[in-house]
């Protein structure tokens, strides 16, 4: 009966003034900044100069900052979710769609039609030209569409980071974590790579590791490192150490959050600019099932693609490296069969997945080295039934561009801020597997204090139904949890705590603390 009435209840709100005069003014200031970018895009001569670029970026920043200061600093510190579901922008209303379409459109231009943004080898025009002065100043080259993107991306993380810090200023975990993503974005993703180019080294974002950085093992990338002397070699080795040593150690100690919500740029944007949309993630069981299939398929895709890329690289360059095809095939076989053995014989792993999943792992663990071996045995650089070059291209198009960019960010206002991290990111998949099976990290549930209110699940950007564990009094150990800590922040009863402990890593989820009768 009543379902209809209640639904309308969320929408038929008298719309109290959530924004006041100062905020409208701030929005106008930011709007002018945006307008200048628009005019530059249309290549209006009057705005195409360095001063206007600075004016535009400063207006964007100050508009956002004034707006958020007004929204949060005028109120006492605490959770600020009033009216989230009443607001057109944050409840998939018209403005959400408009914003989604604009961002999606921007990404389409960026990836596939950069000339429409003004990229031109005979001299940039439009938006790309607008950023030439900044690019010249930083690295002594004219801008590319990627420079424009990187600048705007970094600016967004910085200004929305400030907003986020003010919003959660009663929570030090949130503050420290946000300063961390701001630091890594500005330093590691933006300034250092541009400086490297200025110093004639290959572009490298040290924290961006494989498989998120899917071109790390591409021929041009490896050759770039190898042709840049000792420092280049160091960068290559550091990249490999990140994957096989640094990341597993940190994930063991802190869970995947050390990367996903403290360091990563994709996560950084989601946490800051994407924060107003975090509640839009789908919490249903169905969504979780889709998520597990998708993210692991992407991981598989990334692994097969990279294996192929390295194999063809070694095939084309048989001499001169300590690694050769034979060794590589052995390595892959070892890794794959090792994984199969892990899931067949080690109880934690075996019991952590369903029988069906375990069988899938076994089949794949045999097929992948099989394919590589056939290539090796037939002496072919490209697989008999898999063209590695095409595979790499398809991956770049589908996953690298369409998924992580267009859908990942463009769909913020419609599907929440972590669509890519949740459904697509192969890095998240790897870290997640380790987090689930071999990490000290978990979210502890505080005894029987949960009142099943649902704030935690609602504001989990990864769509984890946190409540379903909390109300049982069970710790939350989920592969997808990025450790943002927002569930613990919004919980009105202090039920959740992110923490690390080594004593019980294989029994983290055993206790059911609301079970009253033993």
């Amino acid at each position: 009966m009543a379902e209809k009435v209640y639904k309308s209840m969320s929408f038929a709100n008298p719309h109290p003034p959530f924004t006041d005069g100062v905020q409208k003014l701030a929005a106008a200031i930011g709007g002018v900044g945006l307008l200048l970018l628009g005019l530059a895009l249309l290549n209006i001569k009057q705005v195409q100069n360095a001063t206007m670029l600075w004016v535009s970026l400063s207006l964007l920043a100050s508009g956002t900052i004034i707006f958020s200061a007004r929204a949060y600093l005028t109120k006492s510190a605490g959770i600020k979710n009033d009216g989230v579901w009443f607001n057109n922008l944050t409840n998939r209303g018209l403005w959400a769609w408009v914003l989604g379409i604009i961002i999606t459109g921007f990404y389409v231009l960026l990836y596939w039609f950069p000339s429409l943004l003004g990229l031109n080898s005979d001299g940039n025009t439009g938006l790309v030209h607008f950023f030439d002065p900044l690019s010249m100043a930083l690295k002594g080259e004219v801008a590319s569409q990627w420079f424009v993107y990187g600048t705007l991306y970094t600016l967004a993380i910085l200004i929305f980071g400030i907003k986020f810090i003010w919003k959660y200023r009663h929570n030090k975990y949130q503050i420290v974590r946000t300063i961390s993503v701001m630091f890594f974005q500005l330093g590691f993703a933006f300034l250092i790579p541009e400086l490297l180019i200025r110093l004639n080294y290959p572009y490298n974002d040290f924290k961006n590791m494989w498989p998120l950085n899917y071109y790390f093992f591409d021929e041009w990338s490896i050759k770039g490192f190898l042709s840049s002397g000792n420092f280049g070699l160091l960068m290559l080795l550091f990249g490999i150490a990140m994957i096989f040593i640094i990341s597993p150690i940190l994930t063991y100690y802190f869970g995947k959050r050390w990367y996903c919500s403290w360091v990563c740029g994709c996560g950084g944007l989601a946490e800051t600019a994407g924060d107003p949309f975090r509640h839009l993630s789908d919490k249903s069981l169905k969504a979780w099932q889709i998520e597990r299939w998708m993210i692991h398929l992407v991981l598989l895709f990334a692994v097969v693609m990279t294996t192929g890329v390295i194999f063809s690289f070694l095939h084309n360059n048989p001499n001169g490296y300590w690694m050769n095809k034979g060794l590589f095939v052995a390595l892959i076989a070892g890794l794959c069969l090792g994984t199969v053995a892990l899931f067949r014989f080690i109880p934690v792993f075996k019991n952590g997945v369903s029988k069906r999943v375990n069988n899938i792992i076994s089949v794949l663990g045999i097929i992948i080295p099989g394919i590589v071996y056939i290539n090796y045995a037939t002496g072919s650089g490209n697989a008999v039934f898999l063209n590695f070059y095409d595979l790499r291209k398809t991956y770049g198009f589908l996953i690298g561009a369409a998924f992580s960019g267009v859908i990942g960010v463009g769909f913020y206002p419609l599907m929440g801020s972590r669509v890519w991290c949740r459904f697509g990111c192969p890095m998240a998949a790897i870290l997640g597997l380790q987090q689930k099976f071999f990490s000290r990290f978990r979210i502890t549930t505080n005894g029987g204090q949960c009142i099943s209110c649902g704030n935690c699940s609602t504001y989990c950007e990864m769509g984890i139904d946190v409540r379903s564990y909390a109300q049982k009094g069970q710790n939350i150990v989920r592969a997808s949890c990025v450790g943002c800590g927002i569930c613990a922040a919004v919980c009105p009863r202090g039920v959740l705590r992110l923490e690390n402990g080594s004593k019980d890593i294989f029994e983290k989820t055993d206790d059911l603390r609301t079970q009253h009768i033993q």
Partner: protein, 446 residues
């Protein structure tokens, strides 16, 4: 066996879930409030726009079918205990073998003149929330009468919509019939800091008609003042929702009287949650405890009893929690508003008045008896263990870091708490553990 449960709140649903876990009985859950179980404690968040009704429902729709829990949206108007039949308001009948009454509460009204005017409401059910929503449109001023947990929630709700609100509270500071004076004062100040017009020591004399059958103002007894308003929230407590059973053969006092197995005076009829009144509660506990947690424990207990594993209801060590605007509150064990004889209290508060810790302990044996917290989260299992094992206050203080449950990087308060104790008692105790999960696990297993 055919089991009927009236009420789809936390107690009824917990009972249904556990019966399903323990048996194959047929389970019918009947309620006229909503199709699906939702969290009553989250009603305020729907109004404030933090969540939709859907988000407050702990189980997805597939859950009920999968677990063969049959949900029936009907109002029970009469129960024929002798022939084991329920009569629905819509005219239908429903037979059962065993019946669980999980009827919840209803808001108190104390016979105030004008209490039945339009736009005068309590906050208990979804329908109440709907009415609140309806009268909020264009509302310029609200008055909340009563200073309990629901009162402050209602005030916060209006506040979130920028509707000016006055809280009319009988006590001399907010909720000081439950909270010790220091804490009550912190919260009173916190309410005022939010620009909520808190009137302490004020009783409601009458609710005045605006001429159309709707509220126009309230009159305060002490001052005779008239406060103009378009909505009055009545939040002066709740009572068991048993009116429709009053004339039946079921034994009812304030609530439905049950024994320690949660059985009523009628064979095969049980009562749990807010509507149940324990004939002999544990020492120091009330016979009716209208909170979420006890409802959940009763639901689980009764399920065992019904499934041939009779269990006495034992709620364990008292705990509760709430949130007053931005300040969270937790309590473990016994912390009465007035310090009982032979009890001592260590009370610490932060300089900004946003955080406080109170540790009550026995004056002679020195064992911890209760913990009261504002703006600080403690680990329930650790506090329970201390209280259960009658741990000496000094051992508690030395290990106080084990109780910390605040987010990582949270301010340290432990040193300052110990200093205060040392200062108060002339002792020189020091911390001996860290905020470390490994230490907590060892402690809990010891």
């Amino acid at each position: 066996m055919k089991i009927a449960i009236i009420g789809n709140g936390i107690s009824g649903i917990t009972a249904a879930r556990w019966i399903r876990k323990l048996s194959d009985h047929s389970i019918d859950v009947i309620s006229s409030e909503s199709d699906y179980f939702f969290s009553r404690t989250a009603l305020m968040y729907i109004y404030m726009g933090h969540m939709r009704l859907k988000d407050t429902q702990p189980y997805e729709e597939y859950f009920w079918e999968k677990n063969r829990i049959n949900l029936i949206n009907e109002h029970v108007s009469r129960i024929d205990f002798e022939s084991k039949k329920l009569e629905f308001k819509s005219g239908g009948e429903h037979a059962y073998d065993k019946l669980i009454l999980a009827l919840g509460s209803a808001s108190n009204k104390f016979g105030w003149p004008g209490q039945d005017l339009k736009a005068v409401h309590g906050l208990y059910s979804l329908q109440d929330l709907e009415l609140m929503e309806k009268y909020s449109e264009g509302l310029e001023k609200a008055v909340v009468v009563g200073g309990g947990l629901i009162g402050i929630e209602m005030a916060e709700m209006f506040h979130s919509r920028k509707i000016p609100v006055t809280m009319l509270v009988r006590e001399s500071s907010y909720w000081n019939n439950v909270l010790p004076q220091d804490e009550a004062e912190i919260i009173s100040q916190h309410i005022l800091d939010h620009n909520i017009d808190l009137r302490l020591g004020g009783n409601l004399e009458a609710i005045l008609d605006d001429g159309t059958g709707k509220v126009g103002a309230v009159k305060v007894k002490e001052t005779g003042e008239r406060i103009e308003c378009g909505f009055v929230g009545l939040t002066a407590g709740v009572h068991p929702n048993v009116a429709f059973l009053k004339d039946s053969i079921l034994e009812i006092d304030k609530g439905i009287v049950v024994d320690e197995y949660l059985k009523t005076n009628m064979e095969d009829v049980y009562a749990i949650g807010d509507c149940a009144q324990l004939a002999s509660p544990n020492p120091g506990r009330r016979s009716i405890e209208a909170v979420w947690y006890t409802g959940r424990m009763m639901g689980e207990t009764v399920a065992h009893s019904i499934c041939n594993n009779p269990q006495k209801y034992d709620p364990g060590i008292w705990f509760n929690s709430a949130k007053f605007l931005d300040i969270e509150y937790q309590v473990y064990g016994d912390v009465p508003p007035e310090l009982p004889e032979a009890t001592q209290s260590l009370f610490w508060k932060s300089e900004d008045n946003q955080h406080s810790i109170r540790l009550n302990y026995h004056a002679i044996n020195k064992n911890l008896t209760g913990v009261n917290l504002l703006g600080i989260r403690f680990r329930q299992e650790v506090c329970e263990k201390w209280i259960r094992e009658k741990t000496h206050i000094e051992d508690v203080l030395k290990d106080i870091c084990l109780a910390d449950f605040n987010p990582e990087f949270f301010r340290t308060y432990e040193q300052s708490l110990l200093q205060q104790y040392n200062h108060q008692t002339g002792q020189g105790i020091e911390l001996r553990s860290k905020r470390s999960l490994n230490q907590v696990i060892s402690f809990l297993k010891s």
